[in-house]
Amino acid sequence: MITKRQYKFLSFFLTRGLFLGTGFSLMLNSSGPDTLIASILGIILGFIFITIYYQIYQKKNPLKLNILNKILLLLLVIIILNDGLFCLTTLISSFYLIKTPPFLITSFLTIVIFVSSKKGLNTFARVAELLMPYAVLLIFIKTISFFPMIKTGNFFPILNESIPGILKTILIMASLTAIPQILLLSTPKEKLTFKDYSIGYLLGSISIILLIIPIIGVFGFPLARIYRSPEYMILKKLNLINFLEHLENIFSTSWIIDIFILGGMCSYIFNDKIIEKKSLAKYLTPLFLIGMTFLAVFVTSHYPIVLFLYNNSYLILLILTFLYLLSLILKKKKSST
């Protein structure tokens, strides 16, 4: 059985999973130095989203999906997993393994996701629990190390950016942090209380804020705005006790963990909620993951698609989530009439 603590940890990792590669640079481009204020407001909006999800799901026990629900959930899972995989593949093939074919990078990640999710959600949640102290340690060291380098002048002028830009950042923050929580709500919810679920979300969001602060405070928004991956470039500034440098590769492993957990949950949802029949899932889940691998590699090698997803994936996710929740509400109304 999944414990309350494991639910919190899963929620924590899911909150962070979609931020790599798209979230930070898109928000900085939209709202400049107001990104900090807008992202805090985005957390509040995201909290409202997750409250709404929880209220809808609480009424259903167990969760039975019809064809429309499954199609919409499948589309959500594909977009979420694809976002995670192609962002991680782009990061690894741009900064670490430049000559390694992207297909190798993505395929080994999907193999790990498949093997770990095959064991069932209990084992997977245990893996998340084991990885949590390492993730927390990395976040803690990053936070402490950047503080001496922060210049308060870089956070000004405040509330000088356009209102549409600030609103866009609020939506980006809310959607990229809150929408993956839908995956968690499809799990058996005997022990999943709103408290566990929301604490994980808030802690995950705070960890994102703890990275936005040094990105703006150390780089300044004119520089942070032009970087494609400011969350990686800021790690290059890490210098522990004036002695240890070039630690960016170690500290960026926290994103690999985030994407791994996100991918595992997507694989579980496909296996248990979309296919449902174990005899079919045994064959379809590996095929699904192979398909996702090819899709992520295809996307990575076509820059117009990357740019389209970079600019619009938060909107696509919002629309799909809205349609999915609407279909659940309508299904409930239909079954009660």
């Binding site: 741009s94 002048g153 290059k236 500034k237 070039h246």
Partner: protein
């Protein structure tokens, strides 16, 4: 089956695909860029290893220089990479050396290219070279300093008294200063002197272009405002004090920029007319040096205005507080008030003047 998968994963996922032997790398410590006769001249300083030392290159040198030139910076840079004996490795890059000719032409081309390149370490420092060419400087033979770029780096960043650069002057953060409204950059310069390398004056920029330099006195004042110093000497006739524990704050309110400078001072030499057992001596010395430093700061601001280079970031103060009233050069148009407070509170080991 699990063991086979595990072995398969271990063999293929440990990053061996991108593995590079250390011996196959040409570790580049410094890049030099000059601009002469409409051409960019790019120089790489490459660390020698044993293999290179076994070639016909002079065995006493620890570095090798590669120089190329082209009308376009990108082409000159790529040609230099091709001319490098092994696989060019830029992650240890520490210095970007430029000349006055390049700086006058503009550094936007090289800045745009280097910030975009993923393989270049962005925490390098930009330094101007005075009175010589970059290859000549990098080819100097200095005792106890086999690698010239390391000698320059130690000079600018590891000086115990004052460091012309700190981590906030790295290349990428310097670009942020250029991109920011109301700020310009000021970089240190070095020159050859008496068979070694010495610090020269600070060079000023407006946007991406070199506009002038500070005198030695102005450079000293600039360092006082920029960062913590230790034991920087200030002379006034027969008296000399050492400044330490300096703090500066900038404020903008009601169309007035206020610069408040505070520091401690310790007496190094003193005229015999002063009585060091009398507290009034310290009060009068504090007042005297406070006025001296205040005048120096005002003259530094005047130099900043004359060279049209807002390296103190006065315009940014205005922009951060009232962005709608900002315009280029507005920092100089505001009333500037300087408050300097030097507290002379140490006299060394003796109370008497032994002359």
């Amino acid at each position: 089956m699990k063991k086979i998968i595990l072995i398969f994963l271990l063999l293929l996922t440990t990053g061996c695909y991108d593995f590079k032997e250390l011996n196959s790398l040409a570790i580049i410590e410094a890049i030099g860029v000059d601009y002469q006769d409409d051409e960019y001249i790019v120089t790489f300083e490459i660390l020698n290893d044993k293999k290179l030392e076994n070639t016909n290159i002079d065995n006493s040198r620890k570095t090798t220089l590669v120089t190329t030139k082209d009308k376009k910076f990108v082409k000159a840079f790529e040609d230099a990479i091709k001319a490098t004996p092994k696989d060019a490795y830029f992650y240890q890059l520490k210095l970007l050396l430029i000349t006055e000719d390049l700086a006058s032409h503009g550094i936007e081309d090289i800045t745009d290219y280097l910030i975009r390149l993923h393989k270049v370490n962005k925490s390098l420092y930009m330094v101007m070279v005075d009175d010589t060419t970059i290859p000549d400087l990098l080819a100097l033979n200095i005792d106890n300093e086999p690698v010239i770029s390391t000698a320059i780096l130690d000079l600018i960043s590891k000086n115990p008294k004052l460091s012309p650069v700190n981590t906030s002057d790295s290349f990428d953060l310097m670009l942020n200063t250029i991109l920011k409204k109301g700020s310009d950059i000021a970089i240190p310069s070095v020159k050859p002197e008496n068979d070694t390398i010495a610090l020269s004056t600070t060079k000023l920029f407006n946007d991406y272009h070199y506009t002038g330099s500070l005198t030695e006195e102005e450079t000293k004042t600039y360092f006082l405002l920029k960062d913590s110093v230790y034991d920087i000497y200030y002379e006034d006739g027969p008296n000399t004090i050492a400044i330490y524990d300096n703090k500066v704050s900038y404020d903008y309110d009601n169309d007035t920029i206020t610069i408040t400078f505070k520091a401690e001072g310790s007496i190094k030499t003193i005229d015999e007319k002063y009585d060091l057992r009398n507290s009034n001596t310290y009060i009068s010395l504090s007042k005297e040096y406070s006025n001296l430093i205040k005048e120096d700061i005002l003259s530094l601001i005047k130099a900043s205005k004359e060279n049209n280079s807002d390296f103190l970031g006065l315009g940014t103060l205005v922009y951060n507080k009232t962005p709608k009233s900002y315009y280029d050069g507005c920092g100089f148009a505001k009333k500037i008030v300087v408050k300097a407070n030097i507290n002379v509170n140490r006299n060394g080991l003796v109370y008497e003047v032994v002359k």
